[in-house]
Symmetry: C2
Subunit: 529 residues, 2 copies
């Protein structure tokens, strides 16, 4: 049953890619996957004045999809322009972007201490001026001095070591050690421009051909499918179980691994996103142990997306890094290839635009590590502002520091508000006809399932669009709320979902709930079977 | 003659890759290129405890080389550690990194206005405080207000549009328009984390298989060879003519294009680096017109690396962008696919660590542009600090602004000092026995040719190293000066060079010249035939 579901998924996943592509190109080969050797632009081909056409670019680029900034966002941006040009033309007066985990775009304020330190590091001349004392906290000045001193030659505008500034890596390693209770080696840290380039680096390293597979959760964050496609690999899906709160079952991993092997796929790695994106579940430690055991036994690299490690909203769950879990099982560098991704974009800070992040790379042989370093060196280094911020999030103010109390107040206000927002939206969604929504234990998203009436599905087909995309577009046009169709993340065939962030500011949530509820009622009234 | 030189180059280029790889791996298959299906690590293979080995990673990763941060830099870093641990252990007391265009690492100070604006944008709360007036220039405060106002929701920590913040792109487009005298559309600008990711994006877009070729200058900046290798394409070399100051001859482009075509290579693009890296020449406008004509006629994408556009040191030469040249020839969007790369890392500002840059993409069809946007969107956006800085370098203070005079003083001091440094080093190199060095008209490098005695070549062979790498390692060990062997950039077979930046501070140049001269004399005395 599961196996056939997986096969159906693969078909449908291809199908939904075709949907999107066709919509973009206003062509209509719906339901028939486009072979890569042909092209959706064939009518334009022969007489194109352009030497580069969609037919002769890298087919992996053509094939890759990233729904989080896909068609629905383009539609929203056009609506926004329309609203600016013709205020009052729509029944709403603004677009509310719930498509992407981008907290500051929705009004979340940056953490003061972090920005103080960044400003001082950007313009270190301030450190020598007496007026600075009145403008900045004492510990931000002290921290900025420390950081500037850690940079060789105090050159805050120089390329750093390709893994990042040594002193900042030391700070991060200490922070990881404190978090886990197990030591971290600064040489294992590779600072990157957000987590995305780190994921690409690992996919690039592990993928030799379409016969190399990566086990990915379904639903997944589409960076993974996009990166696997761009690097010419094979996404091996494993299904999270919606019925058990998006549980990750080892039996499912085993089955999908065997299935892939039987098709000649050489599975190289397992992606686990914890807390989950788009699904919001937080893994139990017991479950994590079983995952570690599975990867060790099968010789799989464990790619642990842990960028939401600070985003846990329920008292009964706690984040445990896979590094901590594997070390607590007695496993060391010779037992497991583990890569942990972290980002400054998420957590309570949400500094998406700073593009800071790192990967902690353990369990690889020295010669492979050398190759990872070499690829990092081709791009020279990640941005220094992001590097500094990555060190700050792993070493925030401590008890006794001047900023400590205000820092904790800012942090706790954000996290407790996110908890409330998650709860309000989850409850509102569960009240809608035909909608069920699992608990957002962590991360920044809800991923409700919508049971669409047959009539709505037919209407979607008539518009050459996926049913969930049809729903989301209707929602956008009626309310200005932007959510991403489940088909962009993958879902069990025949089920439909959307991803909605919990990020609009708290005072906006009631209005969003009202708009959403009204829309849904009207939608169901229009399409109810 | 040229054709056989090219063939010999290809052999030698492979050979030098093997050199480097073998040195790294302490294996000794010198002169016999390693087939990709086998591995230099075969002795480790069968009993490796690691599931990921150099034998089963992506062979393109294994093959790629980036000499600017390669073996010689690792040796230098080890020497530096040794110097710290055992001061006095060597005949020099510090390592002087002339391997990379990283001005601030060698003491160049950042431009005050740029850093003022960055600090204010990083911590916009400063804008509301009265003390700020005393600490920052009036125009930096005004500019920061403008920029913060251009960011939707004033959210300086949010992901931006995947091409970059609209208002900053407008500023950059205006700056390009002013530079060229031809308009630039902000929609053509893609802001990137330095120029490197932009180059990768284009290589990724254009490369379908090893049958797709990119015409690259030899010598070249090894980002190009690394990126082509990583994306599985084919580097089609064209030789710059050292005898005419590294002239770029159209006849050579034609010959190499025909040669590649005859081998079944589908050449897609031409890379031109102007001002040249590592060669320092500045192209004449007439030459650029001929290049534009060639690309238009042959349907090649012109990839114009223009990151050194502010670095021109001779009064008789002037930088002209390829956009300006093509527009002045009457060519528009339907005539030429042109991508111009720019970076905040170079110029007089040298803000390498900020990882800001952009590409201006013109002449591509809307459907291909959509694909470029999609790939940009997978990584969400480039870092905002780098985006802001890119807007500042394309729109620095103007006459009448409070900062104008101090800004111009800083800028001119850096550029006139670079001119002097280039001249001093060039003269010193030309005085060395067997060394000839072309004029550094622009960029940040000298690329002297060294005529090595046969005995030195034999000694290098005995050490399983390329003769130029042998020279550079000897130089490093004797003086602490780090330069990059010419084999990392490519060179006519049988000739040997190294790349040396002109970036050490002016007061250091005499000592460097003395050390270099003494070393060279001793080296020649040791190996003279």
């Amino acid at each position: 049953m599961r196996k056939s579901a997986a096969d159906r998924f693969r078909h449908l996943f291809n199908r939904s890619l075709v949907f999107v592509r066709n919509q973009q190109n206003q062509q209509h080969h719906r339901l028939s996957p486009i072979p890569l050797s042909s092209s959706p632009f064939s009518s334009m081909a022969s007489d194109s004045p352009f030497p580069v056409t969609a037919q002769n670019i890298n087919p992996q680029v053509l094939k890759c999809q990233y729904a989080v900034r896909g068609e629905i966002v383009t539609l929203a941006q056009n609506l926004q322009k329309d609203l600016q040009a013709n205020p009052g033309a729509h029944s709403f007066d603004e677009i509310i972007y719930c498509n992407i985990g981008n907290p500051q775009s929705l009004g979340q304020q940056p953490i003061t201490f972090f920005r103080e330190v960044l400003a001082l590091c950007d313009y270190p001349a301030l450190l020598d001026k007496s007026e600075t004392q009145g403008l900045f906290s004492a510990d931000s000045i002290e921290r900025a001095w420390q950081i500037v001193d850690q940079i060789p030659g105090r050159a805050t505008g120089a390329y750093s070591h390709s893994q990042g500034i040594q002193g900042l890596r030391d700070t991060i390693a200490a922070g990881i050690g404190e978090r886990d209770g197990f030591p971290c080696n600064a040489d294992d840290i590779f600072l990157t421009d957000g987590a995305s380039p780190a994921v690409h680096m690992m996919m690039q390293l592990l993928t030799r051909s379409e016969k190399d597979g990566i086990l990915c959760p379904i639903p997944q964050y589409p960076l993974y499918s996009a990166s696997i496609t761009l690097h010419g690999g094979h996404l091996v899906p494993y299904y999270l179980d919606e019925a058990t709160g998006w549980g990750l079952e080892i039996s499912e991993l085993k089955k999908q691994l065997e299935d892939a092997k039987s098709k000649g796929i050489n599975v190289r790695a397992l992606v686990v996103i914890n807390p989950g994106n788009p699904t919001g579940q937080v893994l139990a430690e017991e479950n994590q142990r079983a995952i570690v055991e599975f990867c060790k036994k099968e010789g799989l690299v464990l790619l642990a997306d842990e960028v939401y490690q600070e985003n846990v909203y329920v008292p009964e769950k706690k984040f445990h890094s896979f590094k901590k879990v594997s070390r607590s099982m007695g496993y060391g560098d010779n037992d497991l290839c583990l890569v942990s991704f972290q980002s400054v974009s998420k957590g309570y800070h949400g500094e998406c635009g700073k593009r800071g992040g790192y990967m902690e790379v353990t369990g690889f042989s020295p010669d492979v590590r050398e190759q990872i370093y070499k690829v990092a060196s081709v791009n020279l280094c990640s941005n220094i502002t992001g590097q500094i911020l990555a060190s700050l999030i792993m070493s925030p103010p401590k008890v006794g520091d001047e900023s400590y109390e205000s820092f904790m107040a800012e942090k706790n206000a954000i996290l407790s508000s996110l908890t409330k927002r998650a709860k309000s939206l989850e409850e509102a969604l569960n009240k809608l006809e035909g909608v069920t929504c699992n608990k957002a234990e962590g991360a920044m998203y809800l991923f409700p399932r919508i049971r669409l009436p047959e009539k709505a599905i037919k209407a979607a087909e008539a518009e050459k669009t996926a049913p969930d995309a049809f729903y989301c577009k209707r929602l956008l046009n009626a309310t200005g709320i932007v959510v991403v169709p489940g088909s962009g993340f993958g879902q069990v065939p025949g089920t439909w979902h959307f991803r909605c962030t919990i990020l609009p500011q708290e005072d906006r949530i009631p209005a969003i709930v009202t708009r959403l509820t009204e829309f849904h009622e009207k939608f169901m009234n229009e399409f109810r079977d």
